[in-house]
């Protein structure tokens, strides 16, 4: 009896706390477009205030990219899109290798481009929901050049939170851009040929 009397208000407190935590978490979890907007602002200000990040050869850039950008990309999904049907032809070990090499290639080639952010801004235009709370495309515009450039980010909500799995520039998909190359290499010399080509490109 005594226990029940005691537990009731306690249960109420727990429920209240749970609700509080949930609502707090909910308020803290931004929608993907808010996320893009907020992070774009943070990123441009980081580049503007740090001269090292404006210098294309700088070591600091690769640290910065590894820490802040790489975790926000779903490289496995990007690789799957680029490989299409050939993804199933690779065994799990090969798949892992391809994802590792391809993400290295993408990160290495595009890291230095962050220096140009100094003069650019990102405006979030709209969001297209492909699947609610799971798959969305955030449409943005990059301004600060003679012509604005439309850039769309496709994001998927997975165990690691929202992550980017494709980027389209003026409608041209980055993941799809690699499709023909990957398909050609697999047709020519198999999955191992693709891995070799990626490794060679990465200088390994």
């Amino acid at each position: 009896m005594c226990f029940r009397q005691w537990i009731r208000p306690f249960a109420g407190i727990v429920a209240f706390l749970a609700a509080l935590v949930l609502s707090h978490a909910y308020a803290d979890a931004p929608s993907p477009d808010e996320l893009v907007r907020k992070l774009a602002a943070e990123m441009t200000s980081a580049v503007r205030s740090d001269p090292d990040l404006q210098n294309p050869g700088s070591v600091k850039i690769s640290d910065f990219v590894q820490k802040n950008i790489v975790p926000r990309f779903d490289f496995e999904r990007i690789t799957q899109i680029a490989m299409g049907r050939n993804w199933a032809k690779a065994n799990p070990a090969e798949q892992k290798q391809i994802v590792a090499e391809f993400s290295k290639l993408l990160t290495r080639t595009y890291s230095n481009a962050i220096a140009t952010l100094k003069d650019l801004d990102v405006e979030v235009k709209s969001t297209r929901v492909v699947a609610p709370n799971a798959d969305v495309t955030v449409k943005t515009q990059m301004i600060g050049r003679p012509q604005p450039v439309a850039i769309d980010y496709s994001l998927i909500n997975g165990p690691g939170g929202w992550r980017v799995y494709d980027v389209s520039v003026e409608g041209i998909s980055l993941a799809a851009a690699y499709r023909d190359e990957f398909a050609g290499l697999v047709a020519q010399s198999g999955v191992s040929g693709l891995i070799d080509a990626l490794k060679k490109k990465n200088g390994g």
Partner: protein, 253 residues
């Protein structure tokens, strides 16, 4: 075309970086990643003349290394950037006349009106097109050409082609380009002004595309295939945009 590549890859990358600078709190994760629809897999590109194209592609690389790249280096090195921008704007302004004409041929009168307003504003206030005043007024330049018009009319692209000096094209786009050249006043000028103007436009276009060409070279495994993919994606998007514009007009009627 090259101009579009110009905005292309650099930005493709920056932008993601922009967007995801800091780790973010997760939302409720969904159970499993969504499957990647196999249906979205596009048909392989029509590259009937691949061996010839690859040879021309290599030839163009050779011409670039020997002639174009040194000229571009001189152009970027000694000409101040505001002059280069002015030259780019001047040729863009001439191009807008063609863009507008093609939007008319595609039945897209409202976009043609914007193109011609750009020409009117840029030719007058913008001093014969040297300053892109139109863009500052919110009248942005878009692409448009006769190859696109043919596509909107239902003409298929035909096989992919690499043209000497010019680069990526298709049979349809080459037909469009031929019409453009035939209607270009420069074609009928005396040799010296004609070649100077065409040469200057070519140089400016190539100089503009340099940064992206470097990025493409750095990020591709087989540059020929990568360029082909980007070019064909771009051309099909242009035709799709033209068709959507005409569809939405029909719906409005």
């Amino acid at each position: 075309m090259k101009r579009t590549f110009a905005s292309l890859f650099i930005l493709a990358v920056i932008a993601p970086s922009l967007a995801f600078a800091t780790p973010v709190k997760k939302m409720k994760p969904n159970v499993a990643p969504l499957p990647i629809e196999e249906a979205a897999e596009p048909a392989p590109p029509n590259d009937l003349f691949e061996p010839v194209n690859r040879a021309t592609f290599a030839l163009n690389d050779g011409i670039d290394a020997l002639i174009v790249n040194p000229l571009v280096a001189v152009w970027n090195g000694i000409v101040p950037s505001f002059v280069r921008t002015g030259v780019g704007n001047f040729f863009n302004n001439l191009d807008d006349i063609y863009v507008g004409a093609n939007h008319l041929l595609q039945g897209n009168g409202s976009r043609a009106a914007v193109d011609f307003q750009r020409v009117a504003v840029n030719t007058t206030i913008g001093i014969v097109g040297l300053v892109d005043v139109g863009a500052k007024m919110g009248l942005n330049k878009v692409d448009g050409d006769f190859g696109q018009t043919l596509g909107v009319w239902g003409v298929p692209t035909g096989p992919y082609l690499i043209l000497p000096l010019i680069g990526p094209s298709t049979v349809r786009e080459t037909a469009g380009r031929t019409v453009r050249i035939a209607t270009d006043p420069r074609t009928y000028m005396d040799a010296v002004p004609s070649y100077s103007l065409m040469g200057l436009e070519y140089l400016q276009t190539r100089a503009d595309a340099k940064a992206n060409e470097g990025l493409i070279a750095a990020s591709s495994l087989d540059r020929y295939v990568f360029v082909r993919n980007l070019y064909l994606q771009k051309r099909s998007l242009m035709v799709k945009a033209g068709l959507e514009a005409s569809k939405s007009r029909q719906a409005a009627k």
